[in-house]
Symmetry: C2
Subunit: 368 residues, 2 copies
């Protein structure tokens, strides 16, 4: 099935939009009410660049929710399951957000810019509304806004070389998720050691959307000798690497323990946080589902367009969220949430892919 | 510019999805994290059906946020700018939602199912998160959920005939925005006199997604003698009719007074509501921008893909959100937010459409 994407003014364009069009983008998705490129017409080359070279991605749709003011730290602590007590300015942390029932509602990276300024670099849900409501109802002295910040990701093993060429060798020393404010000939940036792949890299958090095309072209020029090319968050690599996709792998009832994020839940945080009581109960009683990897039998799988039931003896025992063919493993791999009682050695599992049923075996994540 | 739409499992499929594919949908958009058809390949016929016949639209992406429990009424009152004191079960009301600064965050139709059950039939923002946060922080005894409800719109002057054929003549008596629960041979529905057009019609709020294809086919069969055909919320008709498009015509700072929704703000509501103080201040001080219609000169306009600045003497005096060619008027028409000081008789206005500048004149909404 192939459909035309409606490009209309109710969805925001990234400030890199025109640059990605010039570089040959072929398809888009919508994320945080903004268009995001999905492919540039050569998936094999895009995958190869990410694993063996360097790629640049327009991820401006990874919006920032800024908490600013005297109570920003208090609000940040209350919003996330992690204890931020020891976070220092310049540090980022993967910081899941739950609702009052302990269900995941987003999994941002939290950046501490100062003791009174934090950014939540969010997945696809309207966390600004959530945070605004909580701040106001608790009477906190903090403003919640979406600043003019547009991340451009540079990912892959040669990303440090490109970034060093563009910004200097100091970027090589940045620790994972840490960041530094800098200025590229007048273009204000936060340089973050981050990105939605396990191939290493950076995200340039551009602080002035009007400079986006300029920044895009500078990165492209700096990356030329490393054969940089355009790309997009890569479903194949993320599944191989076992990275969580909030919108894909998480349903309305998913808690962090089910999807391997238990280590980011600081249940005993003294300041308290949203979902704390519910998560204590879940932890005590044990989870009902768990996230696993699946190997799928049969010919090369076409990525699924919707979640698929996992069956055993014709009974639904889970849902497969995403399946791809892994070039590195030469096999079909997938991510699923299954009943916690089903062990890795379970036999007789089938995935109902709509047009066919495939035999499945469970494995631990990540695949690679 | 034409791009492929990425269909992937991080965006929900409507339960009518397969039916719209079978009926020839050509392009999609994403709304409330769900695919919505945009066109079926024949825009002139789709417009004509809506104005002169009857059309059926998959608007399952118009999600419901359910407030249920003893404090549901209290929460509903607090969330919306309208006074719901006189609303009765079976009644729907257009009910804008604002944040604490008086900025619009959604413009749902609120349905009162009972004194302890309300649905907000929402535009494209995550109001479930907003409402959950407020309910919990205020300690209200109410659950906030997204029920299994999938609206199917039947719109156009022949819609009453189709609905009467399907459900009986009683549907003709339903008042605008009122609704009734019914059962179509085992398919549970709310029949609502509503829809995002000014051509009249109904929305069938299907209460069991597994029956969607069945319902689609029954509506299609009942509409056959009226030449019913598929369609989608129609940008041309909605601009002619001056219907607000929340995602298009509203930016982060828009208040209800700017876009003609002042009559839905009950400033003196005794129970209080979010944004009340801010809206009193705005009302007192006067608005800085106002929504207007524009006629655009020049050849037939191509619908804009992004907001366009409105200029006077090379100064930006507003933003045009949406432009189309109106078949009924034989002219280019548009909707814009402009500085409040600029009168309808202003001369020398230009819209910067990117590739060209067009002379513009102001008119009141609606156009038709």
């Amino acid at each position: 099935m192939s459909f035309r994407m409606s490009v209309s003014p109710n969805v925001r364009k990234s400030p890199y939009f025109d640059a990605t069009v010039a570089d040959g983008v072929k398809s888009f998705a919508v994320y945080n009410h903004m268009y995001i490129p999905v492919d540039f017409g050569d998936p094999d080359a895009e995958y190869d660049r990410l694993l063996n070279g360097v790629a640049m991605w327009d991820v401006a749709c990874e919006r920032q929710v800024e908490l600013a003011g005297p109570d920003a730290g208090m609000l940040a602590q209350y919003l996330t399951t992690r204890d931020l007590a020891n976070a220092v300015p310049g540090q980022g942390m993967y910081a899941p957000l739950c609702d009052y029932d302990g269900h995941l509602i987003n999994d941002p990276v939290l950046l501490k810019l100062s003791t009174s300024q934090y950014w939540l670099s969010i997945a696809d849900s309207d966390i600004a509304l959530w945070a605004k409501a909580i701040a106001a109802e608790r009477g906190l002295n903090v403003s919640v806004t979406e600043p003019d910040v547009s991340p451009l990701a540079v990912q892959g093993p040669r990303a440090p070389d490109v970034m060093a060429e563009l910004l200097g060798d100091w970027v090589r020393e940045l620790k994972y998720f840490w960041f530094k404010e800098t200025d590229l000939e007048g273009i204000r940036l936060l340089v973050v050691r981050s990105g939605w792949s396990k191939q290493g890299g950076f995200e340039l958090f551009l602080r002035d959307g009007t400079r986006a095309i300029d920044l895009w072209n500078r990165v492209k020029a700096a990356g030329k000798r490393y054969a940089i090319g355009p790309g997009a968050p890569n479903d194949v690599e993320r599944i191989e690497s076992g990275l969580l996709s909030y919108g894909t792998d998480v349903d309305a009832d998913t808690n962090p323990y089910e999807v391997g994020l238990g280590k980011y839940v600081d249940l005993e945080k003294t300041e308290g946080f949203i979902g704390q009581a519910a998560l204590k109960k879940i932890k005590r009683e044990g989870i009902r589902r768990r996230q696993v990897g699946l190997f799928l039998a049969g010919e090369r799988v076409v990525p699924n367009a919707h979640p698929c039931p996992v069956l055993r003896h014709d009974e639904v025992v889970g849902m497969m969220s995403a399946a791809v063919f892994s070039p590195r493993l030469g096999r079909n791999i997938a991510i699923a949430l299954i009943h916690a009682g089903i062990g890795n050695d379970a036999l007789g599992l089938l995935v109902d892919c709509g047009d066919c049923r495939r035999a499945a075996t469970i494995t631990d994540l990540p695949f690679c």
